[in-house]
């Protein structure tokens, strides 16, 4: 992993077109600003982990369970 030290107001550039700016630092919390082209999705990692968990859980649905919902 590349580790870079930055101060408030400084930023890094990824792939020429994505900028990550340190907006503020307060104790353990860091506020980031991300400037990226619209086609680049940016989300918190927890969202991806939750989606992964739901996708995996959708694998173990029992076919017979769905019959319970039939009219």
């Amino acid at each position: 992993m590349l580790a870079l030290t930055r101060k408030k107001g400084e930023s890094i550039i990824i792939n020429d077109d994505i900028e990550v700016v340190i907006l503020s630092v307060s104790g353990e919390q860091v506020k980031l600003g991300i400037v990226a082209p619209k086609e680049i999705p940016v989300h918190r990692k927890e969202i991806y982990e939750l989606i992964q968990k739901e996708n995996e859980a959708a694998l173990s649905v029992d076919v017979s369970k769905l019959d319970l919902f039939k009219k």
């Binding site: 619209k38 989606i51 996708n55 694998l59 919902f69 009219k71």
Partner: protein, 148 residues
């Protein structure tokens, strides 16, 4: 071609019915080719069955059938990456989890699976709606439907 499925034995599928994900579904990295299987006459529940891995069969639901107001806002650029889209050639499904306690049945409203049925390309796209839950409880909506 013949494929083995998790729930429905061997099925004959046509090449044109194969749905391709450029990026494999999160958590399911071993396949990017699926077919949509419908065994439900109401067309509410479906199975996204992997062509490559018989054990990969994901339960999905057509949320619009039970929640007509469901309106995920997804990035136009991500939808266009699946090919030219019109209102008619885009289908949206949500992963469904039916636990032992069926009252806890839930759907992922935040990250719908979007399929372009012309190009047969698909992606799971995170919606920008603030109020859509990844694990949205839908039992009551299904229950209401049972009483129709």
């Amino acid at each position: 071609m013949k494929i083995s499925t998790k729930n429905f034995g061997e099925l004959d599928v046509l090449d044109k019915d194969i749905i391709t994900f450029d990026t494999p579904l999160s958590g399911l990295p071993n396949s990017n080719r699926y077919v949509l299987i419908s065994k439900d006459e109401d067309n509410l529940f479906f199975w996204l069955q992997s062509v490559d891995e018989p054990e990969l069969s994901i339960c999905i639901i057509d949320m619009f059938k039970i929640m007509p107001e469901y309106d995920p806002k997804v990035s136009e650029i991500q939808v266009m990456a699946l090919g030219e889209s019109t209102y008619e050639n885009i289908r949206t499904y949500n992963t469904l989890v039916v636990p032992e306690d069926i009252e806890q049945t839930r759907a992922n409203l935040l990250a719908p699976i979007v399929i372009n049925i012309n190009t047969m390309k698909a992606a799971q796209i995170i919606a920008t709606n603030d109020d859509y839950d990844i694990a949205f409880k839908i039992f009551e909506k299904l229950d209401v439907r049972k009483d129709v």
